[in-house]
Subunit: 294 residues, 4 copies
């Protein structure tokens, strides 16, 4: 095989933990020794909002949380992400450090696939205009997310949210809250709330109520290509929109959230043999199922 | 408005019940009086396996069950179906008799939409070949369904089913059974078993276990364009595959079911204003939700 | 029948709403006209912490919330409560105003039953001592509740709660929160969170996680006569204990909640024919079940 | 310590598997060597319906299934059971063979506790009389169970069961079936169907629907000291009552099952330190919970 072009990488290792710093040193040493790699940048202390020209992939040291952050950070200019998991195996960061070193040749030989994952954009409309996280005007861009939007109450009250999809009224949810999740997010908060698992590369959202007051409402899977409108109704004390468990938008009565599929998707590098279902097995304990029935 | 072409109809009213017969008489009278309709055929006693050349739609008198049957009956040569519901409002047959008469002009003026709905085909593989409902060879065509495939046990034993999607192992389910449902079927057996609701026109299947032994398995939504392989494992006493609650295929250990999206879809006639969510409201009681929490 | 002793009543109508004030005027007129009633007190503007000597029952105007408040208010000196529901039928306040007037003779003739309902007491232990709602020492008495104790986070983070029952470790719950509910509370927050319904007069508690991280944990029903110890572990940001949806105790890491059956029970007056299951039917919509399956 | 009375044992090792036979040989050798044991009987090939006079406990070689069988076998003359589990740890048979040998002195010194477990009796009423498993008259004794009664359909149809508890109508269940479970049975079929876990020594039953048609019905926990009446209604095709997953009673429309707490309870020998919650941890995988949320 003729020598391949050098692989142009950036490394994201921004989390200041000892574990990430130590992994960074090891990865750095490994990359320095190779002639077939070009390390374009490494983000250690600060975020790297734009990847250098020609970046082929960003190696993310950390767990699924680091991938989520990287994905939101790159915004409209996504870069294929390869997660190296330093803790437990993740759904997104599904490569252990050893595997990263052992299978590095497959990266060099470009024997990987890039799978795109649905992201969403949320705008908060108050009165006639879109507002920012502080409630100030100018929130037209909104907020990008990869996992889920959750509407819940900081004062622990029941809230009431009216949902429309594509302009068609769905129902009004009363309860502890409401989650709109991507397929990637379906194994996170959505799963705890009783929602189904969506294959990671589906183009669909799932809407799952948290502790719904109405016993007949069920999780709902609908198309990605529609606007999801969540309007806060009368019961709205302490209501807060949370994106990917991080960004929090305080809401007031009458506020409306508009969620749409983002124009960008999150590209993840997958080595041959990577399987979403294998990850489910490992993470959810499907393999060693307890035999509790007699 | 210039006179439209006459609407070329067939009527399916095969269910021998008094209610259907009486509705048929009324519909027949109504159609005879109109110059803008051509009634090509009416199936009263026997099934109508092929619709006459030029049929624009089949009016189905009955409920959702009659639509399911019509859809399976037309096989690879589907005809747009318009359900007139004689009992409670259905998810598929969502027009009451009065509405049918009142809004007939909209049909004449072709002011309707035809929405396609995912169907599936199941083949039963035993040893090296596909078998029929009687276990005889020659089951290559398999069985068409619109709602769901359910694998359960006639002897009420736990069964064990190994699932692969697109050749990738998912997991092995132990329990009372397993359902693979279309979006249309998601509000039927799947919903009772704890599965999510899928918007009717999604191209996806949902896999929902019935009383699973393993507490970590959850309903799973995956793409329609893959082969779902369900292999009966060791525990298989009395195992039976049921399609749309009707066709039953007795199974034996080692049998494999192969489910794929059918090459045809089920076309339903929708008048302006028809909404899947409105039907959910009515059918599932989302509207008048009981206020049980204080 | 010889004339019965006059029925010695108090009326609780403290909620300042128009509805309650107007009901109070009507009830007051009704009671003034009867020779067989002695109205010992009426709480309109202030709470009535101790019922006058000889009180046979307290008529509570309002809904289930008013009953919950009355029950906590009387503390260790409970009085049989008769709820007159001014809104929708309640689980606790299960008499409509008309029924109250129509069936008043049954009260006079003492043709009612008093059913006792399990209450609980919660103490918050911080370091070596019990603390108050403000975190000040002196919380030995703790807080009385009739519905449930819920531990959740005001900052919407996951929390981690270690549960022991009767000194035996049960498990550590990770997720949005944890509910310990009485039978009376089982149809409130517990039901929304997926917990079972407990017959109102059982002596048992049910422990139900809110959006649990661990997919194998399930609601747990255990005896009332044991101490339930809930210890906040590492993840405790914003953790708050809420009693009956009202009293809120801010918590910090290492805090321990001790829940026991209260020494008092909540006595409710039940007229002949009152049935918990009839209330479930009405409140949960079991009667007119939607026929959504074909 | 003065020499204790010899421990009077029987051994149940009736399951003809190699594993049980080999365990029996080992146990037998062990017991022969001890002066402080009197082996009154060993059931190897046949059941032992009545334990010899003076039996203090029956050592059951096998798993939870063997305990269930032993318990039903002894009928109204129960003997304390000590389960030695030859496979995975069970909920009832919670002693591994090694532990049995190592902790035998604790048995000799009677340092164990006997915990009683609720059993039930089911009678099948057809027309005016109680019938047998074959439908013949003379079923007055009914059938004893330790886990659960399940009513489901052999023909895989929906069935309709009307439930009364203590003569009070609860509701009519439509769906795949209905389970009435003891606390011991709550971790078996009931758990798979979505029911809660009941502490093993509670005196209560839990009623859990299987794939209920009505979305508002939920598992229900009620007192043990009432008659549970399950009446088959119109939809009853293939209906079958199954007790502990073994005994099957074919039913016909109009049949009524009457379930009551049995007059006997199932006594299990518990060595110091045995904990129901520890068993849950091990069996349900609560310990090593997968960290799937980010």
């Amino acid at each position: 095989m003729p020598p391949a072009d050098p692989l142009r990488l950036v490394v994201l290792a921004r989390d200041g933990s000892d574990r990430v710093r130590s992994a960074w040193r090891e990865v750095n040493r490994f990359l320095q020794d190779r002639a077939d790699v070009e390390l374009l940048a490494a983000a250690l202390d600060d975020d790297l909002h734009v990847a250098p020209q020609g970046t082929e992939m960003a190696v993310v040291l950390g767990g699924d949380g680091a991938i989520l952050r990287a994905c939101r950070m790159f915004g409209t200019k996504q870069v294929p992400l390869l997660g190296v998991n330093l803790g437990r195996l993740g759904f997104l960061a599904d490569l252990a450090p050893d595997e990263f070193f052992d299978r590095f040749d497959e990266l060099i030989e470009r024997r990987y696939e890039i799978r795109e994952h649905l992201m969403f954009r949320v705008r908060l409309r108050r009165g006639g205009e879109y507002v920012d996280v502080d409630g100030a005007p100018g929130g037209n861009e909104g907020f990008l997310g990869l996992n889920e939007l959750a509407v819940t109450s900081r004062t622990l009250h029941m809230i009431e949210v009216r949902l429309e999809i594509g302009g068609v009224p769905v129902t009004t949810y009363n309860g502890d809250g409401l989650i709109v999740s991507t397929p990637v997010g379906s194994t996170a908060h959505n799963l705890s709330a009783g929602g189904p698992i969506l294959r990671q590369d589906l183009r669909a959202f799932v809407v799952t109520p948290i502790c719904p007051h109405t016993l007949t409402v069920r999780p709902l899977v609908d198309v990605a290509d529609a606007t999801y409108t969540l309007a806060l109704q009368n019961e709205c004390d302490g209501a807060t929109a949370t994106i990917d468990g991080r960004t929090r938008l305080p809401m007031t009565c009458g506020d409306v959230l508009e969620l749409t599929a983002a124009e960008v998707t999150c590209p993840l590098v997958k080595l041959p043999g990577a399987s979403f279902y294998a990850a489910l097995h490992n993470k959810l304990g499907w393999g060693g199922q307890p035999r509790y029935r007699r």
